[in-house]
């Protein structure tokens, strides 16, 4: 079986600020789930890197493996049924998969924090928001109750919750969806982590609130110079905040590109199909382009390129050989920094 080449082929578009390599480096990660219907191969050789101050958007539909990858990085994957069969997750050069539970626990929360889609179920309903925020400081930094409270209010101010001092003793259900998501962000920020993983952070929110929350997240990221992995299915949200994008399909990265490039010149038929299938806000279109068929069942991923049964460009080779994530170049061979496509016919897709 061909696996995707090492990320070295696809240099990051921006060098990390500190210059000592990327913050997070995921290498050839494989994750399976054992279900009654067989082994579901959720992640099949994912490579990506994130540097400080950089936003990587991982784009994919349900079942693409984007969230499973994130859960594996955070060490919150349910095992069993989940199983990491291969790969490395290097955080500042150290493989987290080889660490002891104690070492990993120290990284989790302090160095890498996560924001979930559903803030209501991620917050404990019987504890006040102030208590939950303060807990971070009391447990991890050993602050006193009073100091922790002061820090919590400061934090709530920072995520722009109005009247923070007054609302600190409110319970999660007393906040609106947007405010709850801000509290989640505040909790993630509490220990000033180096990397934040945000899993669909605005999907449950209304459009007008979505914009507020995304702006806040981007602003805080700049301020703290954090790495940010933004996991989403929404091509629109990605366009507004990401630096680079990794598109996932059936557990593999099928395309990587700096954000502008991906939208203007997709190099994988799946990306192109996705972009063509969303209706436009600024004009009334004709019939939508629809990618035919459905995403594959992960217990029976098609041989060769997983997208081949749905692909308008598929040839015989696509059904037998898994395309590696190849570097994408201009027609004259000039390298396009940070671009890669796992398609046998990427040349035709981008230039044709």
């Amino acid at each position: 079986m061909t696996t995707i080449d090492k990320t070295a082929h696809v240099p990051a578009p921006r060098e990390s600020v500190s210059g000592d390599g990327p913050l997070l480096d995921v290498r050839d990660l494989h994750v399976e789930f054992h279900t009654r219907d067989g082994v579901a191969k959720a992640v099949n050789g994912v490579n990506y890197t994130v540097s400080a101050g950089e936003t990587l958007a991982v784009l994919g539909e349900s079942g693409s493996g984007k969230s499973v990858t994130a859960q594996t990085i955070m060490g919150i994957l349910d095992m069993p049924p989940g199983k990491i069969t291969q790969g490395e997750i290097l955080f500042r050069g150290q493989d987290m998969l080889k660490m002891s539970n104690e070492e990993r626990r120290k990284i989790r929360g302090r160095k890498i924090a996560m924001i979930f889609q559903d803030a209501l179920s991620s917050l404990n309903p019987v504890l006040t928001v102030g208590y939950q925020l303060g807990e971070m400081f009391r447990v991890h930094q050993g602050l006193s109750r009073k100091d922790a409270k002061a820090k919590s209010i400061e934090l709530m101010d920072q995520v722009k919750i109005p009247a923070a001092a007054a609302r600190i003793s409110d319970y999660p259900h007393q906040f609106s969806g947007g405010m709850r998501q801000r509290i989640m962000i505040a909790m993630a920020l509490a220990l000033e982590p180096d990397l934040i993983i945000a899993d669909e952070p605005t999907t449950a929110l209304d459009v007008t609130v979505q914009a507020q929350v995304m702006d806040l997240l981007a602003e805080l990221q700049r301020e703290y110079n954090m790495g940010l992995i933004l996991i989403t299915h929404d091509l629109g949200v990605v366009a507004d905040v990401a630096d680079k994008i990794a598109v996932m399909y059936a557990g593999r990265i099928v395309e990587t590109a700096p954000v502008g490039e991906l939208y203007s010149r997709p190099a994988h038929p799946y990306t192109r199909g996705l972009l063509d299938s969303i209706p436009r806000l600024d004009q009334k279109g004709q019939e939508l382009y629809a990618i035919k068929g459905l995403p594959p069942n992960l217990t029976r991923i098609p041989a060769g390129c997983a997208f081949s049964p749905r692909c308008p460009k598929a040839q015989d080779i696509c059904r037998t050989e898994i395309p590696p994530l190849a570097p994408v170049t201009e027609q004259d061979g000039l390298e396009l920094v940070g671009r890669g496509s796992a398609c046998h016919f990427w040349k035709e897709t981008i230039h044709g």
């Binding site: 789930f33 279900t35 009654r36 219907d37 067989g38 579901a40 959720a42 349900s62 079942g63 693409s64 493996g65 984007k66 969230s67 499973v68 859960q71 349910d78 979930f116 889609q117 899993d199 669909e200 035919k292 068929g293 459905l294 995403p295 594959p296 069942n297 992960l298 217990t299 029976r300 991923i301 098609p302 049964p309 749905r310």
Partner: protein, 318 residues
């Protein structure tokens, strides 16, 4: 975690993707029709807990229906002169004297076989009765809500507040002749509350489901909504509670019979036998132990069965 849920959903839908581009929607072609019941059965068949309990339950059921298949002796033939507390004759498998004789000089083996009937009858019939009563009351309360719910729920609470064994004792003492049916009646009268509560809870959840709203939007009648949509979906948790409770009713019957308030002679019951042998523990312990073990095995098999059913019908509870 959206991806894992999506994952289980997509793995549920069987068959390979895009194998058969039959129509515009060339998605996973589902294989054979697979109802949730057949999925549960598929799980059950592979559960050793279920297989073991099923074998035991089948054996007990056959015993209670055709006791003559297991022994030629009668459980009521007493021969005090010859057999008073005669020790077991371990070599004589399935013979009347195999497990010895009790204080009345009756074959313990025969009484063991014939005692199954009372236990199984009480267990099964009480379970059926409480399931029907509880379902009807729970569904009415849950579906209609409002004052109907208030009234029915308060009544349920009142019955729930009565201690089960004590309540049954009070009812039983009012009857002069305490046949199996009287015991069944008294246990059923008190036992339906937990089923009603479970049924009410699941009906309240299900009546808000979109498929019920969809049926209403089509103009479906209340009867139709209740029988086609609510009942089939509400019944799984009820079945789980009922099967687990079944063992409890068998234990309750034995308890009441032991206390001398449940079944009475000449009915053959393990509870009565334990009660009659309670002074013989030091002399001939087998007289006491054998019927006690039978009660335990029976209760345990139904509990195991209930557990297996729960695992199959509600995998999330595991």
């Amino acid at each position: 975690m959206p991806d894992t849920t999506a994952l289980t959903k997509s793995t549920d839908a069987s068959a390979a993707a895009a194998q058969t581009p039959t129509t515009t929607d060339s998605g996973p072609a589902p294989g054979k029709p697979r109802s949730l019941w057949s999925d549960a059965w598929h799980d059950l068949r592979r559960n050793p807990l279920f297989l073991v309990s099923m074998v035991l339950i089948l054996l007990l059921t056959v015993m209670s229906i055709f006791p003559g298949l297991f022994t030629s002796a009668s459980p009521r033939d007493a021969n005090l002169a010859e057999h008073y507390l005669q020790k077991p004759n371990w070599g004589h498998f399935f013979a009347p004297d195999w497990l010895g004789y009790d204080v009345q000089g009756r074959s313990i083996y025969a009484r063991l076989i014939y005692g199954a009937r009372a236990s199984i009858m009480v267990g099964v019939i009480v379970t059926i009765a409480v399931t029907i009563t509880g379902l009807v009351i729970g569904m009415l309360a849950g579906y209609f809500g409002g004052w109907i719910d208030t009234v029915l729920s308060r009544i349920t609470d009142v019955f729930f507040g009565v201690p089960f064994i004590v309540g049954a004792m009070v009812i039983l003492t009012t009857f002069e002749e305490r046949s199996v049916w009287v015991v069944i009646l008294s246990l059923s009268f008190l036992g339906w509350t937990s089923i009603a509560r479970v049924a009410r809870g699941s009906v309240i959840t299900i009546k808000q489901a979109d498929y019920v709203v969809a049926a209403k939007a089509l103009g479906a009648s209340t009867t139709r909504i209740m029988t086609r949509h609510i009942l089939p979906n509400a019944i799984a948790p009820v079945i789980v509670v009922a099967t687990i409770a079944l063992g409890g009713y068998i234990a309750a019957e034995a308890t009441l019979s032991f206390l001398g308030i449940g079944l009475a002679e000449p009915t053959v019951s393990w509870g009565i036998d334990v009660s009659a042998a309670k002074d013989q523990l030091r002399n001939v312990p087998t007289v006491l132990i054998i019927p006690s073990v039978m009660v335990s095995i029976t209760v345990l098999s139904f509990l195991m069965f209930g557990d297996a059913v729960r695992n199959a019908l509600d995998p999330k509870m595991r």
